[in-house]
Structure formats: C-alpha cells, structure tokens
C-alpha cells in the first residue's frame, strides 16, 4: 500500500548522480550576462541569490570560482545608511537581505569590509515590544525575520544587543498542536517556518521549548514514497523542503528518523 498519495513520480531517465561540475559551471557564470531575463527580473532577490550561489560553491569546494572582489564591491554598494542591506542597488533595505549579506561576508571572510555596527543597530531597531521582529520599517512581523535577526547577530557576535529571551518566547507563542511553528501566533505549521523557529531557539539556547519527539515525527512524515519531502501534510514534494526539513531534524538530533 502506498504511504503517500500526493507525490511525484521520478522518471526512468532522470539523472542518477550529482553533476557537481555542471552545478559549479552554472553558478560561476550566472550573472555574467546582465540582460539574461531571469537574472534581470530577479534583481529584487539578488542578495539572497548570491548567498545561495556562494554557499553552494563553498560546499562544492569551488568558492574560488566566484569573483570575490566583485561581490565585496556589491556588498558595500548595497549597505544603506541605516545599516541594513538592499537586495540590489536602489531597492530598499530589509532584514532578509541583511542576513544574506552577512552570510556572504562570512563565507568570503570579509566582515571587515562592511559596517558591522550598522548591521547591529539596524537589526536591533527592528525588535518589537513582544520580542518579534519586523522585516523593515513597514512593520510586517514573521518568524522568518526572527531568524534573520538572531542568525545575523550570532554571526557577527552581537546577540546580546537584542532581548534574546523575548525573541524566544515570541517563537514559543507560535507553537502549534502538532509541535510545529508558523510565521506568527496562530499560523499553521510549515517546514520553512519550523526551520526558522527551531533555528532561533537553538541559537538562543531555548531548544527545550520544542517537543523534539512530536516535531521530529511530524518532520519525518514529510517524506513521501518518491523519497522527496513536502512542507506540510498532503502537499507535493519540493527540493527546497529537503533543506528545511533535514536541517530542522539535524538540530533536533533526529535526522535518522527519515530515509
């Protein structure tokens, strides 16, 4: 009997081995043509994209294929006066890009090239009374931003600048019946948000707020017959969930609960 119904069927002729060289090649020349449609139209995500590309290259041992100087120049150009980072020049700064920028700086070991105090001030200014974080001055609250804030500050060694306990108790207020977390209090459990919440609790030393057995099981149930993982019950698998789910299980010491 099939364990899952909403699932994909991997075609017979699908690639069976990891083509690392091709991935390196793809990332190395991505952005070479500024008029490439996908590249140009996704400029509002560029800072995030550079992080994803750099992290992948680093994992593949090919970081030297990236243009370090060009990236450092880009980082400097994208830091705003308020300390936050824009996704690309002239777009507005936001916590999401600020985390990506700091992550990029750590990967390339160039934190000295950016205004770290500025980052600290920017992130700190976005924490609310109840401990949550706004994404920017316009006030959207979401645990994606809680994670951006604590991860960012942890990477630059300035976690004590924010109220860490309040941030953790905001996350706790987002706990759901299934052991998972959503974006705000009352929001449904979702693997991506679970990663941000479990990550936040791990960084702030409050992992004991999580029922690791209950959540670990819910995360293990994301695996479908195809081997792929979905983000919540009765949804199709997507490779991005391989990251959110596996990383969360690893933090919870239950990675062995999936195949």
């Amino acid at each position: 009997m099939a364990l899952s119904r909403k699932d994909v069927k991997i075609p017979e002729d699908a690639v069976k081995e990891l083509l690392l060289d091709k991935h390196v090649e793809f990332i190395a020349k991505y952005g070479d043509d500024p008029d490439d449609y996908e590249y140009a139209m996704s400029e509002f995500l560029r800072m995030n994209g550079i992080y994803w590309g750099s992290a992948a290259m680093h994992l593949m041992g090919s970081l030297q294929s990236m243009d370090r100087d060009k990236i450092i120049k880009f980082l400097k150009e994208c830091q705003a006066e308020n300390g936050g980072f824009r996704p690309v020049q002239e777009h507005d700064p936001h916590l999401l890009n600020t985390l990506s920028a700091v992550q990029i700086a750590v990967i390339f070991d160039c934190l000295a090239e950016i205004d770290v105090d500025g980052v600290c001030n920017y992130v700190t200014s976005l924490q609310t009374e109840e401990g949550s974080f706004m994404g920017d001055q316009w006030g959207e609250i979401d645990n994606r931003f809680t994670f951006c804030a604590v991860a960012c500050l942890a990477l630059i060694g300035r976690l004590s600048s924010i109220d860490v306990d309040k941030a953790a108790s905001f996350v706790k207020s987002c706990l759901n019946f299934d052991g998972g977390f959503g974006s705000r209090p009352g929001a449904e459990s979702h693997a991506g948000l679970i990663y941000t919440c479990v990550g936040t609790l791990a960084i702030t030393g409050h992992l004991h707020y999580v029922d690791s057995d209950l959540l670990g099981w819910w995360l293990a149930e994301r695996q479908l017959d195809s081997g792929g993982l979905n983000g919540r019950p009765e949804k199709l698998p997507d490779v991005c969930y391989s990251w959110w789910v596996l990383a969360s299980l690893k933090i919870l010491n239950r990675l062995h609960w999936i195949d």
């Binding site: 009997m1 099939a2 364990l3 119904r5 008029d35 449609y37 140009a40 139209m41 509002f44 002239e90 777009h91 507005d92 936001h94 920017d136 316009w138 006030g139 959207e140 979401d142 759901n176 019946f177 299934d178 959503g182 974006s183 705000r184 009352g186 929001a187 449904e188 459990s189 979702h190 030393g205 409050h206 004991h208 057995d213 209950l214 670990g216 099981w217 819910w218 293990a220 149930e221 695996q223 919540r232 019950p233 009765e234 949804k235 199709l236 997507d238 991005c240 010491n253 239950r254 062995h256 609960w257 999936i258 195949d259």
Partner: protein, 465 residues
C-alpha cells in the same frame, strides 16, 4: 522555481520567446528607472502610483515598489487632511484612495496568491482606513480559500480580519466545520480548530480543552479519518487529541552522595530557580549542568556536617519541598513528581474518557481487520493503547511498533526510538529501588529520561553487554 514543469521547445519557439522577453525586460527597466529616479527627487504623485501598479501586477513580489506606494499614499492622505493649505491640490478622501489599493492587491493576488508583499500591503491599507469593510474582506477570504483551501497566507489574513471584525470564535469554528465538511483533507482547517477550541471550551489547565469537547472532537475526527484512512490530516489531529498533558514543573528527586548534591527536575530550568536552605538560611551554591542555562539535572559540591537540616524547593513552588537531615549514607529523597511505581509515566483516563477511548480502539481494530497494513490506523491504535494504560498494554504496544517498522519503512528509526523510550519508561516503572536494568534495550542515538539514572545505585546499559 517552485512547481514549474520543464517544457521542451523548438528553436522557433525559443526565438519568439526571446523577443517577447527582451521587450518585457526593456519595459520593466524603463518603469523601474523612472520610479526610482523620481522617488530620489522626492516626487510623490499619481504617476508613481500608476507606474508602480503596472509593474506590480506582473511582479507583486518587488517589495520596494510596495514601499514607494506607501510613501506616496501617506503623503497624499496627509495632503487631503490639510486640504485647506494646498488650494489647487485635489481633495483626497482617505478611504477612497486606499480602496484602490485593495483593488490593486486583489489583482496582484490573482497573479500570485502567495505574495507576501501583496497581502501585507492589503493589511497595511486597511489599517490606515477610517471605515474598513470587514465583511468584504471575509468574502475575499472565502473566495481565495475556495481556490486553494491550503493557502496559509489567506488563512492568516482571515484570522487577522476576524480579530479586527470582532468575529466570535464560535463563528470561526463554524467556518472550519464548513471547510472540513467540504473536504476532510483540510489540515489548515483542523489547525485553526485547535486554536479556537481552547478559547470556546477551555479546560482547567492553560491552552487545554474540556473533556466533553475532546470526546466530541474524537468522534468528528474518527469519522474523517475512517472515511479516508490514507489522508494524514485527520490522523494528525487525532494524535493531538490523544496526547499526554504537559507535565507541570517540579522536582523528581534530590540525591546527596559523597559531598555531591543532585537535583533532578521534570523540565529544564535555570539554576537560579533552585532554592536550598541549610539550617533555615538560604545557601548560595554554584551549580553545574550539561547545558549552560537550562538543565533537568543540576549538581553542586557541598560539605555539610551530619545532622544539618536541608530544605530544597523550586522558586514558585515553595509548598512542594524536600526536607532531610544529613547523615553519612547515600540519601535519596523522592519528590512530588516521582509517583509510585507503575504510575510514573502512566496517566490513566477518567471514567468518562475510558469508554470513548475503548470505542476508538474498537474502531481501529475493525479497520485493521480490513486493512492490516494501514500505517495510520496502527499507529493511532498504539497511541490509544498508551492513553488507556501504557503499563498494562506495554507488550501489545511494542509488538505494534515492531510491525510499523515493516509497514512504514522510511520512518523505521522513529518507531524504534519510540519503542526505546517506552521500554525505558517501563523499566523505570518496574525497577526495584536500587537497580535499573536497561541492558535489553538496543543502543539508541537519543537517551531518554537521563535525569532518572542517578537515582539508581546501579544502572545497567546495553553497552555493558
């Protein structure tokens, strides 16, 4: 990109696509350039609104454009309220202006119903309005949830609207019922239910629900689960209803042996919460634990003379204290949380709940006769057996878990670890006062109930074999 199927195209199609895209890119860049340069000059006018609207309709995730709109709107609304100052400016009625934002976000949501930017801008616009029409917003939610009943952006938005509109939790509960009746596989609706029930039918403990409500919900969820046993949504909700109540914080035991004082707690606490009084005055001790801040197990070195009176309690629970007079032997004091043998991890159901659970067990067994490989039914049966009497049903539970490792192979380690946890509990419950024998347990990556081990004089582990 998510959910996009790879499609092979001919060279001709590729060329046509490139021409179309070049055109789109050119238009996009022209619009963005105009918007950003005019913004840099401080211009906040209708043109900015018009041009940004065009770009947003196909690109609703460019948050900077939503920001530009907000800046312009705040400026226009400000102008409107000071209309006497600018004689030749149009008078802007705040709500009329903001209503257009609702139209725009609605169009954008048709392009991408999951656009964070669009949903937030809609929220922001309504917050600025003097007289928002909440019924219109509830109707919008209805429509979007009909298109995609799992769109969590829409569910979150609906919750916010319901709160602003002061909709009763009961009316929201009725809405979840509608969605569940339409389709049992609606995890989002079950989830919302789990939030509303503690508000409408609160139990004695915070966030819990009344016993009768649990019974009626069990009835409802069994109906759903058995109608479609392969759908996980109802089964997850079922699991929650059967779950153990969270244990209240407390001391399990204290142990004084060879100058080391150990305090074991049910949940991780900060050492500042540990209170130790020696001959009636508070001792300041320096505690050690595995983790830096929060631990279930804390130890400290002491050098107390025989006959010293010691009193131990947690802050906030001064009435649940442990008290003893120091002698030279090993002194173990069992706390309020160390219940008598067989009861330590067992929570027997009330007289009213027991028959409900027995009926549920019966239903599961009936379904298992028809479909012995139904993983959800078998796992739920395990949970029911645990809820009824984890101690008495121990063997049947273990056997079922072993079956599950065969039926649900990807998760075999989960079932194996659960077996390990339950057998550890069983061992602790049946151990004599000094020896805990865990040697029959398989090695596991997770050590359960570590905080109990120091209480036993001798602990046999599987690695001792």
């Amino acid at each position: 990109m998510h959910g996009r199927v790879k499609v092979k195209t001919t060279e001709q199609q590729e060329r046509e696509k490139k021409i179309e895209r070049d055109g789109k890119l050119k238009a996009y860049r022209k619009a963005m350039s105009a918007l950003l340069s005019r913004r840099a000059e401080g211009i906040k006018d209708d043109t900015q609104l018009m041009v940004s609207a065009q770009v947003l309709q196909s690109n609703p995730d460019i948050s900077t454009l939503w920001n530009i709109r907000k800046e312009v709107l705040l400026h226009l609304v400000d102008l409107g309220s000071n209309s006497t100052e600018e004689a030749d400016e149009k008078v802007f009625e705040k709500d009329a202006v903001l209503l257009k934002e609702l139209d725009l976000t609605q169009q954008c949501l048709m392009t991408n119903p999951k656009s964070y930017g669009a949903w937030h801008h809609r929220t922001w616009s309504l917050e600025q309005m003097d007289n928002p029409d909440w019924n219109r917003e509830l109707a919008l939610c209805q429509r979007y949830l009909k298109l995609d009943e799992r769109n969590f952006h829409c569910w979150d938005y609906r919750k916010w609207v319901a709160h602003r509109a002061a909709a009763s939790p009961q009316s929201e509960l009725d809405f979840t019922m509608e969605k569940i009746e339409e389709n049992f596989s609606n995890y989002s609706a079950w989830h919302y239910r789990s939030k509303l029930l503690p508000l409408i039918f609160p139990g004695s403990v915070q966030d819990s629900i009344q016993e009768e409500t649990i019974h009626s919900e069990l009835d409802l969820v069994q109906n759903a689960a058995f109608t479609d046993p392969e759908d996980s949504s109802a089964w997850f909700y079922h699991t929650w209803l059967l779950g153990r109540q969270a244990e209240k914080s407390g001391i399990i035991y204290s142990l004084l042996e060879n100058g080391t004082l150990t305090i074991s707690c049910t949940e991780p606490i900060e050492s500042a919460k540990l209170n130790v009084q020696v001959n009636e005055s508070t001792e300041n001790l320096s505690w050690e634990g595995e983790e830096e801040r929060f631990n279930k197990l804390w130890t400290t070195k002491v050098s107390w003379k025989e006959g010293t009176k010691v009193k131990i309690f947690l802050s906030g629970s001064e009435d649940q204290y442990l008290q003893f007079s120091v002698d030279l032997d090993r002194q173990l004091l069992l706390g309020e949380k160390w219940k008598s043998t067989n009861q330590r991890f067992t929570n027997l159901p009330s007289q009213k709940t027991k028959p409900v659970l027995e009926q549920a067990l019966d239903n599961c067994n009936q379904l298992l006769e028809l479909e012995p490989d139904s993983k959800w039914t078998l796992f739920t049966k395990v949970l029911i057996l645990l809820a009824l009497d984890s101690h008495a049903n121990h063997q049947e539970i273990i056997t079922s878990l072993r079956n599950l490792t065969e039926i649900d192979k990807p998760r075999k380690n989960f079932f194996a670890d659960l077996e390990c946890r339950l057998r550890t509990e069983h061992c602790i419950e049946t151990a004599d006062s000094s020896t805990l024998d865990l040697s029959e347990l398989n090695e596991t990556r997770i050590q359960y109930h570590k905080q109990y081990l120091p209480a036993f004089k001798l602990v046999k582990l599987s690695s001792d074999k």
